[in-house]
Symmetry: C2
Subunit: 322 residues, 2 copies
């Protein structure tokens, strides 16, 4: 691979001049510029980004940290983040923590070492201090990490309320909520929204933990529906959770939606693949990812951002399960 020296020699100028035309910075005469451009083309020269990074302490990369890449919510998010990043000339490094604190820490270390310009976090296992100590632009996506960190979330509480209202509206008189992990903000908000509406309508309800995992949801649903067959409406904390509940219902011969109505949360493609297709509260997943990416890049480039907290509306999508 050709280096900047080779180009300088070929163009009969100094490396400083080559660097100037590369970065379009400082004065360069027309002739010098042309000679350099010609040499670059001739040698098929491309500047070494590692050397650049070393000097600039900036790599043009941004990190995206997700808890579980096999949960279909995150690949969608990742794609949006990447689309926007690429537009602005940034490369995305995807880091999957498998929900392990140790892995997250290692990634932070590695990302910082590689001089990433910023990080988008969809995890929250570490403490606020850890994030502050990074001294790097951060955006919290689908999580809330602190007031001083720009945040992009759906209006989970409102979405949960709508889901619950919808179930009641459809005639459900005994509800269940399969909540996500305790302490994870979106999951907590959905739980609270559910609870508010159920209590306001004086509808009895059960709440069980399903951690956004299909297997856990299925076994929890198996148990709950066996013990409490009167339940006729389920608000699942996510679409994946809903799929687990539906599997259990199917095994137990609960007919959906006649005997049991189910509504999910997320709006991932999986929902419409199920039979019957899943009613859900749709998040603007792509928008969330794209917005986060833009917010992070604005921070990196020291541009002002309009707000510290973005709370995107959700949308009730009625399909076959309600």
């Amino acid at each position: 691979m050709a280096t900047i020296r080779d180009v300088a020699k070929q163009a009969k100028v100094s490396v400083a001049t080559v660097s100037r035309v590369l970065n379009k910075k400082g004065y360069v005469s027309k002739e010098a510029e042309e000679a350099v451009l010609k040499a670059i083309k001739m040698l098929d020269y491309r500047p070494n980004s590692v050397a650049r990074t070393l000097y600039n302490k900036s790599s043009g990369m941004i990190g995206l940290v997700v808890p579980d890449i096999t949960n279909p919510f995150f690949p969608e998010l990742a794609r949006a983040v990447e689309d926007v990043a690429l537009t602005y000339g940034y490369t995305v490094v995807l880091c999957n923590t498998d929900e392990m604190v140790e892995k997250e820490k290692k990634y932070f270390e590695a990302l910082k070492q590689k001089y990433v310009d910023g990080i988008i976090l969809t995890t929250s296992s570490l403490s606020t201090e850890d994030y502050d100590r990074l001294e790097l632009p951060i955006v919290a996506l689908d999580r809330e990490l602190g007031d001083n960190i720009p945040t992009v979330v759906s209006n989970n509480r409102q979405g949960a309320r709508e889901a619950t209202e919808h179930l009641i509206h459809r005639g459900c008189r005994y509800l269940a909520h399969f909540r996500g992990p305790v302490g994870v903000a979106p999951a907590d908000e959905r739980y609270l929204g559910f609870k508010e509406v159920a209590e306001q309508h004086e509808i009895p309800y059960k709440v069980v933990n399903a951690d956004f995992h299909i297997d856990k949801a299925e076994s929890a649903a198996n148990e709950l529906l066996t013990n409490t067959p009167l339940i006729d409406g389920v608000f699942a904390g996510s679409d994946v959770t809903a799929a687990g509940v539906m599997k259990a219902a199917h095994t137990l011969n609960f007919s959906i939606p006649d005997q049991l109505k189910v509504i999910g949360f997320d709006g991932i493609p999986l929902g419409s693949m199920l039979v019957p297709p899943l009613s859900t509260i749709e998040q603007s997943i792509y928008k969330m990812g794209a917005l986060s990416s833009r917010l992070l890049i604005k921070q990196i480039e020291k541009k002002p951002i309009d707000a510290m907290y973005y709370d995107l509306p959700t949308k009730l999508v009625i399909r076959g399960t309600t």
Copy 2:
């Protein structure tokens, strides 16, 4: 952040000595080593990996290039690749090409610039020359790129044969195959396996293209099942494709498995979420990813590899759709 100079000063030795203890290379006296270790701890020093990379022309990163991260087959693969890589001290950079040749080229450029140590490819849009020109260790995963490139695939042909035999065994007398993208080896192999068995049994069949996309599969199935309602058995080129076929069947009121039997390929979790749960040919996805990762790292570290071509067996999983 402390640098090697700071450590050297603190330990009252030269940077060369610090470097030697860091890399456990060359002779260092006990006293010097201890002083350095102490200084490192005191200053919470961590060597700058960008500087290291610049000198070594090796970053400790490996690239994983996938065509579509939202296709659930790839996150599973990614996770396996990452698990193994992390064990050996490598970091994985996930690159999503969105099936765009331009994006793939850009990523190659970027990966090479960043001195990644090797690349695992699950795409094949570029020519063999492009891969050779990389001059980097490569593993072809779920793709075949050439005889001189180590390859890990499932035995797609054999799996397809089993799927087809299974449909016939279950009494199907008019088959359809929803094949994946033409020119993509695993898709072609599955098609060939299907064709062989169908012809050998003199069973009439149709073949339509579905590109591994759910929407495409659904619309193709809508059309095919409407025009050729005699079809009673479908071998879908992937589980996602099968989900599309099942959606269409459901819309058209084809009852599964009574009227129409469906079998997929892949064995991703989605299959067991469908109703009825999808019969499929299961690939050892995790194994494929892990093996590829190991093969790549062996190449990087100039260790011998046992074979250039790994052809993993598949497994027939009978569930509700057949």
